[in-house]
């Protein structure tokens, strides 16, 4: 029987500052065999530890096609992430996983794909976006709608520009609070609906963001013709184990850690309101 609770040491290869409070850590398992064999799907997460501080679930932001390392984009939000932010290249952390289900890329082949992210919601979707671009020909057109509070809080700024150059791909950015430097749209992410045609009958949407954003975005998507089962939402919940035991991430009879974190809107809609699956 495997001991799922014991994490494996990994070394920080490099750190990229994404925004004021967010960094991307490139990590490689110390154990070379594990580094090679570690495989995951877009949408999955790992449990990240600093021994003596604690452990938390963090979604993998790199693409599974890039072997030998993984990237985690982490916001300085709590005790553990604050300690992780003080680490430097060559420092060690501990990782176990990958856990959770994933975005069903096979099911959305040939379809038009719409990615809608708010704030720290882009990192989990980046793994899917990169996987889609790895096999660009397999999918229809791509639209990426991404909003943050301020221009400084946008993650992956350079990459967003490079995504704009991809074939048949639109990237639309917005910030809640624009400053003088900001030339793009100002307003919450749903205001981007005025900037592009979102109407579809067969497109698939991938959504990640704060709970309040989810509610409004789903409303907009439904109005644009998206079907309940073609809206994929990745949820965040407080988690301790990642393997369906500790109970913290329960929604209804489901565990976000093993039945999710990716759910379709047709699944989420069926939970009673008081389970607060969305907001």
């Amino acid at each position: 029987m495997k001991n799922e609770y014991v994490p494996h040491p990994a070394v920080i290869e490099s750190i990229r500052q994404e925004s004021g409070d967010t960094k991307t850590f490139k990590l490689a398992f110390e154990d070379k065999t594990l580094a090679k064999s570690f495989d995951y799907k877009p949408g999955q997460f790992v449990q990240v530890s600093l021994l003596g501080v604690g452990e938390a679930p963090i979604s993998i932001t790199s693409s599974p096609s890039q072997k030998g390392f993984l990237e985690l984009t982490i916001r300085d939000a709590g005790k553990l992430t604050h300690a992780i932010h003080r680490l430097e290249p060559a420092d060690k952390i501990h990782i176990r996983g990958p856990y959770g289900n994933s975005f069903p890329l096979e099911e959305v082949k040939t379809k038009d794909l719409y990615f809608i992210a708010g704030g720290i919601g882009l990192p989990p979707l980046r793994s899917v976006v990169k996987s889609v671009f790895d096999k660009r020909g397999d999918f229809g057109k791509v639209k990426i709608l991404y909003g943050a509070k301020t221009p400084q809080e946008l993650c992956f700024k350079e990459e967003l520009q490079s995504w704009k150059q991809m074939n048949d791909t639109e990237v639309l950015l917005t910030v809640d609070e624009a400053d003088e430097s900001w030339k793009d749209n100002a307003g919450v992410v749903t205001t981007l609906w005025d900037k592009t045609d979102m109407t579809t009958s067969s497109g698939a949407a991938f959504v990640c963001g704060p709970p309040i954003m989810l509610r409004f975005v789903i409303g907009k998507l439904l109005n644009s013709g998206f079907k309940d089962e073609s809206i994929y939402i990745t949820l965040e919940r407080y988690m301790k184990c990642g393997i369906g035991k500790c109970g913290h991430c329960n929604i209804g009879e489901k565990f976000v850690c093993i039945d999710g974190p990716v759910f379709t809107y047709s699944q989420l809609r069926n939970f009673p309101d008081k389970e607060k699956a969305i907001a």
């Binding site: 029987m1 021994l51 604690g54 553990l80 500790c246 329960n250 607060k276």
Partner: protein
């Protein structure tokens, strides 16, 4: 079902003999206070320990889940960056003197810790065991096992089930392992006569009839599953509940835990400890977002987990009718009252 007879005078001897082969747990009465707890026979003072054997206990304050799922459990130790594993060794356990409802609780927990990812800490302690029920004689006022169909005696799920008929027990053999056990320790067992068996059937009926608290369990489950429970019920409970988590700690099927690190200088350990879904911090994320800040939402979760979501996920309710939540509650709320209230609607 096959039966044997076990004279009460033989119980101690059987436990001592069995403890040489099995890690043996028996209910012992505390020297102070009169509570009864399952205690492991340590091999040295077994005679002395067994002087406190109490198979007639009313209810264990803490359910036997603690044996495989202790309140505080080390997941591993660490020195600097080095992890030292602390997985408990797999062991062969004899749990002698369980109540039927608690066996139901154990089976529920076994299934939970096996499902999806296997939990090695729990399973190493729990998978290789012999469950010996000593049936209830005097159900408490808070017990409602007949409504939950979890007691006072079981039809299956146990290895041996003992029915008190005075100075002896009729031993019902519920599994091959149970039969093997009886054969191995055959000198402690006698043949059960037709009279003994009739006597035990009557004794079982008597106990069953003496379970005074009856609730419409099935109707309540149906209401929960069809989402017909009025929110006012949760709001009313929320006004009284002090959110101490006590009912969940003593629940034989509650398995939620928190994980935390403890460190001094460069060495320390990662532990898990019991947690409770009624605590406000239970669902609070690092961002501060918390889907269950309102008290009534946590109350709803607490009861719906047992009576709706466990049922939807496994086909079995998470409530075994032991009544501990009521008897341990400082403000007199029990799941039996919630069931009663819900089944009125």
């Amino acid at each position: 079902m096959k039966q044997r007879l076990l004279k009460k005078d033989n119980v101690k001897g059987l436990c001592i003999k069995a403890s040489k082969q099995w890690e043996t747990y028996v209910p012992l009465e505390d020297t102070v206070g009169g509570d009864t707890h399952f205690v492991k026979l340590d091999g040295k003072n077994n005679e002395l320990l067994l002087d406190r054997l109490n198979l007639d206990y009313e209810s264990l304050v803490v359910p036997p889940k603690v044996i495989a799922f202790p309140q505080l459990d080390s997941l591993f130790r660490f020195q600097g960056e080095k992890i030292i594993e602390t997985v408990p060794p797999a062991s062969k356990k004899l749990l002698f003197g369980l109540r039927a409802c608690d066996v139901k609780g154990i089976l529920f927990m076994d299934d939970f810790f096996k499902r999806n990812f296997e939990d090695i800490y729990y399973l190493n302690r729990s998978m290789d065991k012999l469950l010996v029920i000593v049936g209830c004689k005097q159900p408490l006022e808070s017990c409602f096992c007949t409504s939950a169909k979890t007691g006072p005696f079981l039809e299956k799920g146990f290895d041996l089930q003992l029915v008190d008929i005075g100075d002896k027990y009729v031993v019902e053999i519920g599994s091959e392992r149970g039969e093997e056990f009886v054969n191995t320790y055959r000198r402690f067992f006698d043949k059960a006569s037709k009279d003994d068996i009739e006597h035990s059937e009557a004794a079982k009926r008597n106990v069953e009839e003496s379970v005074g608290l009856r609730v419409d369990f099935e109707k309540a489950i149906k209401s929960f599953c069809e989402d017909k429970v009025p929110e006012e019920i949760y709001e009313t409970i929320a006004q009284r509940c002090i959110y101490c988590g006590g009912c969940l700690y003593v629940c034989p099927t509650c398995s939620c835990f928190n994980v935390f690190d403890d460190i001094k200088a460069a060495s320390g350990a990662r532990y898990r400890n019991w947690d409770a879904c009624v605590f406000e911090g239970y669902t609070r994320e690092a961002s501060g977002h918390n889907p269950r800040t309102e008290k009534w939402l946590r109350t709803a979760r607490r009861y719906e987990h047992k009576l709706k979501y466990d049922y939807l996920a496994t086909g079995t309710s998470g409530c075994v009718g032991c009544g501990r939540c009521l008897s341990s509650c400082p403000v007199n709320i029990g799941i039996s009252q919630v069931i009663e209230e819900v089944s009125k609607h």
